[in-house]
């Protein structure tokens, strides 16, 4: 059999390992070219995934599958990781450990891609841990900076707790069904409906929801996210918010939607409550933040609330909406964190010992000091608030529309209420985005115009083009998301 469809993972693993080896052999000065090497590997893998968007295949005794769902999430992970690597060429310039940094980014991307294709609980767990452990180290990569280490420690403790919960839940699922293969588990529940109401199943599901919920940063599993996103290097926050969070969603789509389709205990109500609390909490707390990274962290908690609305009704269209919003959020949030990294670079070039690089005061007059960054942030913020034409609008539109259809079909008032709360939340979020926009364009600048480094600009423009492109020409992406959702057979 041929492993051609796994070429992206194989390429990234090889490039990552070669980078580690290369780092031992070359001088500290020539390490600045390693970033370009990593970016080249990612471009090749990205091209390969784009070429095989509709491919199907299964590998290693059905432990990994390639289907439209896995491919669209691999696309998300690879784009995010490419943006992060390009921006890091500037962010970690002249850092003598940067070889390890790029190797870890590539390996964490491989882990996320394994989760996207996992069809077996063992593969899912191993991929999850590969991605998590690489990102624990990345969060603490500035090892002289106490905030970065604190972020890493908090992320590590909560992350390992969530993997332990997930593993415990998986062990119970295995105990009930006698298999770790997801299709076999579904088949088992279909043939033995008696077993589907076993109390062990319900406990297992609670553990799995908690385990994935930590990764997705749903309230009440969100406590680590603001601290970690604020303390980590900005480019790593971008990877965490845009990439590693989506890994939780694809795992939840695969396991909760597929394997627990048989149980169908009030999973609808549970997720509706979780989603509403998550989006409201995220938006309300974001209002009072002065640190932009922390504000973006809370706004990404709110976005996770919107995306998890897809679990509430679980129709093909709502899953497609969730996938679209995940794609849009990856571009918007990833780009926004990289733009914040650029502002940090700008502040440091004014004053080498500056603290609180992401304070909102530093954004005053950004429209004059760094016009490209300011304009891109404007695009990202408007897209995050869901203003057309942008990827954020398309995702929210499809998602909310699908829930409204379902609410009308079921004649259910509380589903309609959920949609109304979600829309009011989007309106609320405009308030704190508009505040930053006011700082950028209305307030006077407190410094000279700077020259924006090319790697940052390339990474940010990539995200801007994606965000606006999906907004203007959404058909192929909606089609891709619908294909992905049809895999789940809901």
């Amino acid at each position: 059999m041929s492993y051609g469809l796994l070429a992206p993972e194989i390429i990234l693993t090889i490039v990552g390992l070669v980078i580690i080896l290369l780092g031992l052999l070359i001088t500290d000065k020539s390490k600045n070219m390693i970033g370009y090497f990593g970016a080249a590997g990612l471009v090749v893998a990205l091209g390969y995934v784009l070429k095989t968007m509709t491919a199907e295949g299964s590998f290693f005794y059905n432990a990994l599958v390639i289907d439209p769902l896995s491919q669209i999430f691999k696309l998300i992970f690879l784009i995010v990781s490419l943006m992060v690597v390009i921006a890091s060429i500037s962010y970690f310039k002249d850092n003598r450990n940067q070889d390890e940094y790029y190797a870890l980014i590539l390996l964490s991307t491989v882990g996320m891609m394994v989760v996207a294709s996992a069809n077996d609980l063992v593969a899912l767990f191993v991929g999850f841990e590969l991605a998590s452990m690489s990102t624990y180290v990345l969060a603490g990569f500035e090892k002289k900076n106490p905030a970065s280490l604190e972020a890493a420690l908090k992320y590590f403790i909560i992350g390992s707790l969530s993997s332990a919960l997930m593993l415990f839940g998986m062990s119970l699922v295995y105990g009930v069904t006698g298999s770790t293969n997801i299709p076999v588990i579904i088949e088992f529940f279909k043939t033995n409906p008696m077993m589907a109401t076993n109390s062990l199943d319900i406990i297992a599901m609670i553990f799995l929801v908690a385990g994935f919920g930590f990764k997705m940063a749903l309230v009440p599993f969100h406590m680590w996210a603001p601290d970690t996103y604020e303390g980590s290097p900005s480019v790593v926050s971008s990877l965490l918010a845009a990439g590693s969070k989506k890994m939780g969603f694809v795992a939840a789509f695969r396991v909760l939607v597929l394997a627990l389709v048989a149980i169908r205990i009030d999973i609808q109500m549970t997720f509706a409550i979780l989603a509403v609390i998550t989006m409201t909490y995220g938006n309300i707390v974001a209002i009072s933040q002065r640190s932009i990274k922390r504000m973006l962290a809370y706004s990404s908690i709110a976005q996770a609330g919107y995306i998890s609305l897809a679990f509430v009704v679980m129709t093909q269209m709502s899953v497609a909406g969730g996938v679209l919003l995940a794609l849009g959020h990856a571009l918007m949030k990833g780009g926004a964190f990289i733009a914040v990294a650029l502002v940090g670079y700008m502040v440091l070039s004014d004053n080498r010992n500056a603290k609180n690089l992401d304070d909102i005061g530093n954004f005053a007059g950004l429209g004059k000091r760094a016009p490209i960054t300011a304009f891109s942030l404007l695009v990202f913020f408007l897209a995050l608030a869901g203003i057309p034409p942008s990827a954020g609008f398309i995702g929210k539109f499809v998602l909310f529309y699908s829930i409204t259809i379902e609410a009308v079909a079921q004649a259910s008032n509380w589903l309609l209420l959920v949609v109304i709360i979600a829309i009011l939340n989007s309106a609320l979020s405009i308030y704190y985005y508009a505040r930053v926009i006011r700082y950028m364009y209305v307030l006077p600048p407190n410094g000279e115009k700077i020259k924006e480094p090319t790697p940052y600009v390339v990474a940010i423009l990539l995200a801007v083009i994606g965000t606006i492109g999906i907004g203007i020409y959404p058909e192929p992406f909606i089609q891709m998301a619908m294909n992905a959702a049809s895999v789940l057979g809901v």
Binding site: L121, V122, F125, V126, E129, M133, Y136, V137, G140, K143, K144, N145, P146, A147, L149, E150, A151, A152, L153, K154, F156, I157, S160, L161, S163, A164, L165, L167, F168, M170, S171, L172, Y174, G175, G178, S179, T180, P226, D227, E230, G231, V285, Q289, R294
Partner: protein, 99 residues
């Protein structure tokens, strides 16, 4: 011993681990509690594997033991780096980031 004995023991170990993570303030003790959590799941897997009569659970347990070892290594690395900068691994003193 019946399956329920093993499940009960693993539930107790899990509860001790979860309690420890909530109450302990030393970084090292928290790492030990995380190990307890992971190992309670391993015990579950092996017990179910013997009960179900297939080896999948034991293979899963070996994977998860290897992963737990790697996880502990990373945890200690972060704690060592933190101790060099802050001279403490008491979680009460690690509070720069807060809202």
């Amino acid at each position: 011993m019946s399956l329920y004995t093993y499940l009960l023991i693993s539930a107790i170990i899990f509860a001790i681990g979860a309690y420890g993570i909530i109450t302990q303030r030393s970084g090292i003790k928290i790492l030990m509690c995380i190990e307890l959590l992971l190992n309670s799941a391993n015990l579950n897997l092996v017990a179910f594997s013997s009960f179900n009569g297939n080896a999948t659970g034991q293979v899963f347990a070996i994977f998860s033991i290897a992963i737990a070892a790697a996880e502990a290594a990373i945890g200690f690395a972060i704690l060592v780096a933190l101790f060099r900068v802050r001279d403490t691994i008491n979680l009460d003193n690690i509070n720069i980031l807060r809202w």
